[in-house]
């Protein structure tokens, strides 16, 4: 198990290194001079040059990359050009919106998807199954930003149950949760639909396995066999999807953060790209990639917990 984890760790580090090069390379070629943008149309060339020097933009690319990576290794993400505050502080503010939102949405989608998927699989072909599968088809097809628009229209503007957007901060956790509820629903439902479908089909796959027949021959009822034997085995593909979804939720919140006007990571990326605050963009993208890779790593470890066959593999 430990060896397995270590092996995955090495490839994780390599991935991170490659990712950092790719990110830096892509972001550095984004056209639009950050200094010129910050100073606006009335700025004089010497002012712009002064600012470029202040931001370190006059140094060669490799040197800047090296400094960026070295800084990150020490936990220093640099200082935002526009906000003039440490990027780490900026990110940590935003992450307390994006992360809870992603987790909230993930919990919601799991809470919806698991029972729905299991129910549908256990009653395959029944009216309930058909209804649930129909609903998931719709859920998969619905664009989440459109869904979000409609949620706002109904629950914020018409019914006024929730605030329409913005985030009051965690001073009052209840209010904070409330303001994340509509966005979390908008994010979670389409994901829940996907998850429910995967859950159902992987359960159905399991139902056809020989060991399910063995379980029935032991005297387990259909339902017992499903819960005791199929669910845990079916969890492996489901875990993969959950891992992918978490990454998606964290960054894919971008559009939803836009609709609900949440000050999360997604919006930070958006803002800093249009403000050409490249150092922030680089760091946020790197952080997201890091999270995804880390989540995949966690998922891999979770596999090993679920499936003993993987534990001894290096």
């Amino acid at each position: 198990m430990i060896r397995y984890a270590l092996g995955r760790l090495v490839s994780l580090v390599i991935s991170l290194f490659v990712a950092s090069t790719v990110i830096f390379g892509v972001i550095e070629v984004i056209p639009g001079d950050p200094a010129a943008f910050m100073l606006g149309v009335n700025a004089r060339p010497d002012t712009i040059a002064a600012l470029r020097a202040e931001m370190g933009l006059d140094q060669p690319l490799v040197a800047r990359y090296a400094r960026w990576v070295a800084g990150m290794l020490q936990g220093d993400f640099g200082t935002s050009w526009t906000y003039k505050t440490p990027v780490a502080a900026l990110i940590s503010d935003r992450i307390w919106v994006s992360l809870p939102l992603a987790v909230y949405a993930l919990i919601l989608s799991t809470l919806i998807a698991f029972p729905a998927g299991i129910y549908a699989a256990s009653r395959r072909g029944s009216a309930g199954d058909v209804t649930i599968m129909g609903a998931t088809q719709l859920g998969v097809a619905i664009p989440n930003f459109w869904f979000a628009m409609i949620l706002v229209l109904i629950f914020a503007i018409k019914l006024r149950w929730f605030s329409a957007g913005g985030f009051p901060g965690w001073d009052s956790p209840l209010l904070a949760l409330k303001s994340l509820t509509l966005p979390a629903i908008a994010l979670a439902l389409p994901q829940a639909a996907i998850l429910a479908r995967v859950m159902r089909s992987s359960l159905l796959d399991m139902l056809g396995e020989d060991f399910m027949r063995t379980a029935r021959a032991k005297g387990l009822s259909r339902r017992q066999a499903l819960w005791k034997h199929a669910v845990r085995n079916a969890l492996i593909p489901v875990l993969t999807i959950i891992g992918l979804q978490f990454a998606f939720l964290l960054a894919g919140g971008i559009i939803i953060e836009q609709v609900f006007f949440l000050p999360g990571l997604g919006r930070l990326i958006f803002q800093s790209i249009s403000a050409r605050d490249l150092i922030v963009v680089e760091s946020v993208v790197m952080l997201l990639v890091f999270t995804v890779i880390l989540v995949n790593f966690a998922v891999d470890l979770a596999y090993a917990l679920v499936d003993p066959r993987l534990r001894r593999r290096v």
Partner: protein, 271 residues
């Protein structure tokens, strides 16, 4: 006959037909604006109403179908054309360094949140339909590469592949002659699904202004334009929303239906 397949095919074909028809005819010309006639609700003159520039929404939907389909088809095409050969190569050289490199490369792409990459790409090259295609296409590559490799690996263990190797055929030739045809069904099914995801992705990119540029019609941009109008002219948001929903639904149903028909494992169960 399979219900999913029929509903899916009908929905998909309707939109494809709309898109095709739009080359020849649309109820109104969407390039001329008629601002006095803006935001008319659905009615006799305009079946689905007009937008904030007084354009006929039905015509916009037809033209938008064209954009959506074109973007999605090309993006999936890119994904397949690059991903499938990569997957075949990785499977043929399974366990080698090349295989490892291809698969790690795939993982890396998967590690990038797709929307973020799309935003970066459009930030570098500017917003346009072509760049939307590239951005979506890039994310289709690892999907097809993984799927291909995953499906090809067990095939390589099959005896008929051994037989072909005994006959001295090269790995490339075996991949083309034996592996590819046997995973084609899978590719078609996955292609349909990726196609529907492509439609959604195009809509999302256009919604945040990174997709096709005006005057090209796009469902996502129609939604973006309509977002402030929801409360005064709900049809401007509902119509494109439902267009996306129905098209994606149709494709998904079609994909499911095709899977049921084409997947040999399920076919064995049926007969």
């Amino acid at each position: 006959m399979n219900r999913n397949l029929i509903i899916g095919a009908v929905l998909t074909l309707t939109f494809v037909a709309c898109a095709g028809l739009s080359f020849l005819w649309t109820p109104y010309d969407i390039e001329t604006l008629n601002i006095p006639a803006k935001l008319q609700p659905p009615g006799a003159a305009h079946l689905l109403g007009t937008d904030h520039f007084g354009r006929d929404i039905l015509s916009m939907i037809m033209m938008g179908a064209r954009t959506s389909i074109a973007v999605a088809v090309l993006a999936v095409g890119i994904g397949m054309c690059i991903g499938v050969p990569l997957g075949l190569l990785a499977a043929a050289r399974r366990g080698s360094l090349l295989d490892e490199a291809i698969m790690r490369g795939n993982d890396l792409i998967f590690a990038f949140p797709s929307l973020v990459i799309a935003i970066l790409i459009t930030a570098v090259f500017g917003a346009s339909a072509v760049n939307a295609i590239i951005a979506i296409g890039i994310f289709n590559v690892p999907v097809f590469a993984r799927l291909t490799r995953g499906a090809a690996l067990p095939l390589w263990q099959r005896d008929f592949i051994l037989a072909a190797r005994v006959c001295g055929k090269s790995a490339a030739r075996i991949s083309l002659e034996h592996i590819l045809p046997n995973i084609l069904n899978l590719m078609i099914v996955q292609g349909t699904i990726q196609f529907s995801l492509g439609i959604l992705a195009e809509a999302a990119l256009s919604y945040i202004g990174l997709g096709a540029q005006p005057p090209t019609a796009s469902w996502g941009r129609m939604l973006a334009d309509a977002q402030t109008l929801v409360s005064i002219a709900p049809h401007t948001a509902l119509v494109p929303g439902f267009a996306i929903l129905l098209m994606v639904l149709g494709l998904n149903l079609l994909g499911d239906g095709l899977r049921d028909r084409l997947d040999p494992r399920l076919r064995v169960l049926r007969t």
